[in-house]
């Protein structure tokens, strides 16, 4: 363990305490470092997608996709055991099928799809759990459902980093059509912007990110790092870009803080990260600068813009 140089402003004991609390867990343990790198990669890519999902009123779709990949992962698991490759391929195929199915349901019901989507993901979840249970014990089952941030191996780390890089590149490339398709799909169709294709690309990115997140957080928590920072970001940004930055920032904070909380209090790391993100959301609703509750209460009506 490296000793920090004592700074002049704060007494050395204080720094030691801080160092033990914030730095030592990552410096001392390889599994903590790997978990941190994986979660940071997820934190940069998934929350901006969450912002688009929220703005399209598709928050539920993320949940559906996260559960929809489970039967595919289960089949991959039945074929090849706990192999990242097999489970990812299975999950990708299942996720795309569910994504297209959800889109078809949405079109068929004219946007009133929530009940059908809820039905779809419940069925997918039950099917996945049933498939896994035919071959596996409760340890593997809970690994698949809840993930294990602290058991992230090399292939999983490469998957997360690769998906994050691909997502950021794709977002930079397709930002304008994505915003247009999201804001005004009618106009996008009228100017022949191929909104449908951009939307498909977007759904593929969501499936990939859910898959990557599943490695660390499990199917039940995978959406947490995507949606909670995005929903919280609504209270920090006035533009799509601003919200995306805010969401990534909140997710990075939740990842670091969640891992530390999980380390110090011996809590499961996935839920700890999602809980910190949840706390950030509550804080944002209360004190966020854009339409936060406190701001609204304190501002006098005469001076409101």
């Amino acid at each position: 363990m490296r000793k920090p140089k004592p700074a002049s402003a704060a007494p050395p004991e204080m720094l030691h305490l801080l160092q033990d609390a914030l730095w030592a867990p990552f410096a001392e343990f390889g599994f903590m470092r790997r978990a941190l790198v994986g979660c940071l990669a997820l934190s940069l890519a998934a929350p901006p997608l969450g912002v688009f999902l929220m703005l399209r009123r598709m928050s539920l779709t993320a949940d559906v996709l996260a559960h929809g990949i489970l039967p595919g992962i289960a089949i991959g698991f039945l074929v090849a055991g706990l192999s990242v490759t097999a489970m990812s391929v299975g999950g990708l195929v299942a996720g795309l099928i569910v994504g297209v199915g959800a889109g078809a349901i949405s079109r068929a019901t004219g946007g009133r799809e929530d009940a059908a989507l809820a039905a779809l993901y419940l069925v997918a979840l039950a099917l996945g759990v049933t498939l896994i249970s035919t071959r596996a014990g409760s340890v593997e089952l809970s690994h698949l459902l809840f993930g294990s941030v602290l058991g992230v191996d090399d292939p999983a780390l490469f998957l997360m980093a690769g998906v994050a890089s691909l997502t950021l590149l794709a977002l930079a490339f397709a930002w304008r059509p994505l915003v247009l398709e999201c804001f005004d799909p009618g106009f996008a169709a009228a100017v022949r912007a191929h909104g449908g294709w951009w939307h498909m690309l977007f759904l593929v990115l969501v499936v990939l990110n859910v898959l990557a997140a599943f490695q660390a957080l499990g199917t039940l928590m995978a959406v947490g790092l995507m949606m909670l920072p995005a929903v919280a970001a609504r209270y920090w940004g006035r533009s799509v870009g601003g919200m995306a930055y805010a969401a990534a920032g909140i997710a990075v904070f939740a990842s670091v803080a969640g891992l530390l909380v999980s380390y110090h209090f011996d809590l499961p790391s996935g839920p700890a990260i999602v809980l910190v993100a949840g706390a950030a959301w509550v804080l944002s609703v209360l004190a966020g600068p854009v339409d936060g509750l406190l701001g609204r209460l304190l501002r006098r009506p005469h001076f409101s813009g």
Binding site: A174, R176, F183, D184, G186, A190, S239, V240, M243
Partner: protein
């Protein structure tokens, strides 16, 4: 600005699923014409506009329109006004058919968008999020986007609904300016006084065309009564189009 044949409908039929929306309509919107489309609710007015814009397929018959040259203003309610974009961003999307998904916008294009905002009376609103606008101001922003699109054919779906009188007057002046520039304009409207006063041509539609021509000859009491009776008959009547196999 006007070119070709305008918009030609030949025995055109449009449906929503199996429900008929517009039956067997034939006629022509001449280049440079300014036409109001009126009729009872559910008469297929919006569907006809969407079909002309290429957003709704023809089930039967033919529709010839210069699709690349058309700008459509949809009904205001169709948009999510809470979306976090600025007024300038919305107007800049009007450059899409030139700039596409990737090309950076030129300085002249940025300036055109600012000028368009100024032309609809929203100077200084560039950075404002659309969420804070009144519905009249929002409609002005959408008209600014139409200005930037600079299309020879402009389709307006209930452009003056839910906007204040002053906004309606300003936007109507813009419509007349476009007409003066030789653009072809079709507008779905409900206010018959406005139609009589400002629109030389009218199509009275009740799923079938009741009358189509100079406004004074179309908006007769007899024609309007006929349209109303057809609308009352829809509620009672059968689903499918009986005049053809489709």
């Amino acid at each position: 600005m006007s070119r070709g044949e305008g918009i030609v409908l030949t025995d055109l039929t449009l449906t929503h699923g199996r429900r008929p929306a517009v039956h067997h309509i034939s006629g022509r919107f001449a280049p440079g014409s300014l036409t109001a489309i009126v009729g009872p609710n559910g008469a297929g007015k919006s569907t006809l506009l969407r079909a002309i814009a290429g957003l709704h397929p023809a089930v039967e018959g033919k529709l010839a329109a210069p699709r690349r040259d058309i700008a459509l203003l949809p009904q205001a309610a169709a948009l999510d006004r809470a979306f976090p974009v600025s007024c300038l961003d919305v107007v800049l999307f009007g450059h899409w058919h030139r700039a596409g998904a990737f090309r950076a916008l030129r300085a002249a294009e940025q300036r055109a968008a600012r000028d368009a905002l100024a032309a609809v009376g929203l100077e200084g609103f560039e950075g404002r999020p659309v969420g804070g606008l009144s519905s009249g101001q929002f409609q002005r922003v959408l008209f600014a986007r139409l200005l930037v699109q600079d299309a020879p054919v402009i389709l307006l779906d209930e452009p003056f609904n839910a906007v204040d009188a002053r906004t309606a007057a300003d936007l109507l002046a813009l419509v007349h300016r476009w007409h003066g520039e030789g653009r072809t304009i079709l507008a779905v409207l409900h206010d018959l006084e406005l139609v009589r006063h400002d629109f030389p041509e009218t199509l009275l539609l009740a799923r079938e065309p009741i009358a189509w021509g100079p406004t004074g000859e179309v908006l007769t009491a007899a024609n309007r009564m006929k349209a109303r009776m057809m609308a009352e008959a829809w509620d009672a009547e059968a689903e499918a189009c009986e005049r053809s196999a489709a």
